[in-house]
């Protein structure tokens, strides 16, 4: 064999992710792929096509809709489900609030990010999902850097970082007790740049939000926030129109935009290569405390 056959880093990461997805299919009875409409979960769907075609996916796509999503992301989600012919399950945080199971935050920057976990856990119970595949990456956040690829959660969805199973070579242990579930992260070892380079290489379609466009915004804690019916404005807020794009797509209440002229994948990759802030730097929910993500994960968050 010659060097010509060496897999590039993207091919290696892809092969590892396909292997992990196939392990989920083999080791669990009722898995689900948690789909948010963001670039990472869109890549997961693409990887699932590679893992299971010409067969169907051995799991549905599950979206926990907070009710604060961007319209563009929802439309993309529905189009994707139709295009692939795969099953899409949507459950609504609003239902959990209406049932009194989740309580909406008050204040100037209310977010439904934390209470998503309530709806997620209910959905897991409803379908008896034993594995939930997600697009989290270890480079996103320091608590995530600590997480295994197969991450066991108890019946409360809780993650105990001190009691993680050893995870050796690429032998994954998906054995669990009834009521527990496993969060599986096939793209753990990818960085933000890897995801973008993969999107470029595979010509994966994305919601228009990721590309530069004109939008009404307000400034909050030095971050550019999209104006929407979900955020309350008062007379200290000054609405401006700016050319922006989103580097990460979550709720309209917690995802900040970045000022950017990048409207092709090549532009975006160039922009990320010179960026001096992390992707999560535009997520208000992570800035709440030093251990914000770790605490949410202990509470059943994705």
């Amino acid at each position: 064999m010659t060097d010509l056959h060496r897999l590039s880093h993207l091919d290696q990461l892809e092969s590892e992710a396909i292997y992990i997805l196939r392990e989920v299919a083999a080791q669990f009875e009722r898995p689900a792929l948690l789909f948010s409409g963001g670039k990472d979960s869109i890549c997961l769907v693409h990887l699932a096509l590679k893992a299971f075609r010409p067969g169907k996916f051995p799991f549905p796509l599950v979206h926990i809709d907070t009710g604060h999503n961007f319209d563009e992301a929802l439309k993309f989600r529905d189009d994707l489900a139709e295009r692939t012919g795969e099953k899409l399950v949507v459950r609504y945080v609003q239902d959990s609030i209406d049932q009194g199971k989740a309580v909406e935050e008050k204040g100037k920057f209310p977010s439904r990010n934390a209470i998503q976990a309530v709806t997620l856990l209910d959905t897991i119970a409803e379908f008896k999902f034993d594995a939930c595949i997600g697009g989290a990456r270890r480079d996103e956040e320091k608590a995530r850097a600590k997480e295994r690829i197969f991450s066991v959660r108890d019946e409360f969805g809780s993650w105990d970082p001190k009691l993680q199973r050893p995870e050796l070579w690429n032998i994954y242990n998906g054995k669990i007790h009834v009521g527990e579930n496993v969060r599986v992260f096939p793209i753990s070892n990818w960085t933000e740049l890897d995801v973008w380079e993969y999107i470029r290489k595979e010509k994966i379609e994305l919601p228009s939000l990721y590309f530069s466009h004109q939008r009404e915004i307000v400034w909050r804690e030095d971050l550019v926030f999209p104006v929407s019916k979900f955020i309350s404005l008062d007379n200290t807020d000054k609405v401006e129109t700016r050319t922006v794009r989103f580097r990460t797509v979550g709720d309209m209440t917690c995802t900040a935009a970045v000022e950017s002229e990048a409207n092709t994948i090549d532009d975006i990759i160039r922009e990320i290569q010179v960026s001096r802030t992390t992707e999560r730097g535009s997520r208000l929910d992570d800035k709440r405390s030093e251990a914000a993500m770790e605490d949410r994960k202990k509470g059943g968050y994705f």
């Binding site: 092969s15 590679k50 320091k142 001190k162 030093e290």
Partner: protein, 410 residues
């Protein structure tokens, strides 16, 4: 661009987290918001505390120690790097084994003031047992020994003396100061006697060997893909990741452990069929004959068969609070295979800091020993020393579902 996966090992306070922080910082892989966050958290000796970049858990930041592995990523134009930052404490040996199992290279840190200590022996033993191809011994804190070449050479001599008994193929030495950044990313002006490259330079240049070059093609079957649609009515593909070597359409195939034979009809990927596929590609293989193949079976090229046996010999690292006693039964997971297994005997335990073999009745948490195992069904495998991908296994306690041991077949 390819990927180099490496682990950092060393005793507590040898500066592992600082070294990683320094690698990320000097290679400009740290983002402004991450820097601001650690700057806010306080300083050490008037410098920002780079160790805070890796200690991601509250308990770690509170105690100032690393409990579990953190994975860190950075790249240079030449290579993508994945760092497994493993804890140094003896009680977290299992976490070090976890990190080492996927590494191509190990950095072993030695405090220049202390020289080779017990933890150096222990970590080097694990690196040797797990057959990590490359070892880089970084003699750290050179600033505290006046950047003395003599100190460096003495430690190098001391290390080589004890490493004689180990199976370490490639050992390199580097004098560094992680705190100040000497020889980490940039060469140091304080050590003009050092003629080698910096640590990063070394990591970028080292040539990786992979199991793709192995003469023994191995393909453990993960799933059987049967769409049963009109378009793919008779499609029956075996999905999996090639562990070693390569497969080509037309190759004669033996299925293990059954011994059934066929030929490769096609190798499919989502992008289309290929004529040859090689490790570590994930592909779907179709055979010419309708034979019984299921998950856990292994496709190999006929004439290049691995060992198939129900009696196994292995080194294991015990990872559970509950001790292992011979006679106990576990689920053995090897490649995509899961089979019931019973530990027949514990031949000996290894004192990892001295390599002595000791007789003992049971194996406790973080202990390493040699065992014999009997499995309920035959297992197809290669010695770990030849192919890591088919010679490794874990044991699962079927009561608790915990992964209780890492094993390397002999």
């Amino acid at each position: 661009m390819d990927i180099l996966r490496f682990i950092t090992a060393g005793s507590v306070d040898d500066g592992k987290s600082t070294l990683i922080g320094r690698l990320l910082y000097d290679s400009k892989s740290i983002f402004q918001d991450q820097l601001e966050a650690i700057e806010k958290a306080g300083q050490v000796n008037g410098q920002i505390n780079l160790a805070l970049l890796t200690d991601g858990l509250k308990a770690e930041r509170e105690q100032g120690i690393t409990i579990d592995i953190a994975y860190k990523y950075f790249s240079t134009p030449k290579r993508k790097f994945i760092i497994a930052d493993a804890p140094g404490h003896v009680q977290y040996t299992r976490n070090m084994v976890t990190g080492a199992s996927n590494s191509d290279l190990a950095i072993i840190l030695i405090d220049a003031r202390k020289g080779v200590i017990e933890q150096t022996y222990r970590h080097s033993y694990i690196v040797s047992l797990l057959r990590i191809p490359y070892v880089v011994v970084c003699i750290n804190k050179m600033d505290l020994v006046d950047f003395s070449e003599e100190v460096f050479l003495n430690i190098q001599k001391q290390y080589l003396e004890f490493a004689k008994d180990l199976d370490l193929k490639s050992i390199h030495f580097l004098p560094i100061s992680a705190l100040n950044g000497d020889n980490v990313v940039d060469l140091s002006s304080s050590m003009p006697w050092w003629k080698g490259s910096s640590l990063l330079g070394f990591l970028e240049e080292i040539e990786l060997r992979t199991e793709e070059d192995s003469p023994a093609p191995r393909f453990p079957v993960q799933n059987v893909i049967r769409p049963q649609t009109t378009e793919y009515h008779d499609y029956r593909g075996y999905a999996g990741q090639i562990r070693s070597g390569h497969f080509t359409v037309g190759d004669s195939i033996t299925v293990l452990p059954s011994g059934l034979k066929s030929k490769i009809k096609a190798i499919d990927t989502y992008a289309g069929s290929v004529n040859t596929a090689y490790a570590p590609m994930s592909v779907t293989i179709r055979l010419e004959d309708e034979i019984d193949v299921s998950r856990g079976d292994m496709l190999v090229v006929s004439g290049k068969e691995p060992i198939t046996s129900q009696d196994l010999e292995a080194h294991i690292c015990w990872m559970d609070q509950k001790v292992m006693t011979p006679g106990s039964k576990y689920l053995l997971r090897q490649t995509t295979n899961a089979v019931k297994a019973s530990i027949r005997s514990l031949e000996y335990r290894v004192e990892t800091s001295t390599h002595e073999k000791k007789e003992q009745a049971s194996l406790g948490l973080n202990e390493i020993g040699k065992v014999t195992i009997r499995t309920a069904k035959p297992v197809a495998y290669d010695p770990y020393s030849q192919i890591r991908g088919t010679g490794s296994f874990v044991l699962v306690d079927e009561g608790t579902n915990q992964t209780v041991a890492a094993g390397m077949l002999l």
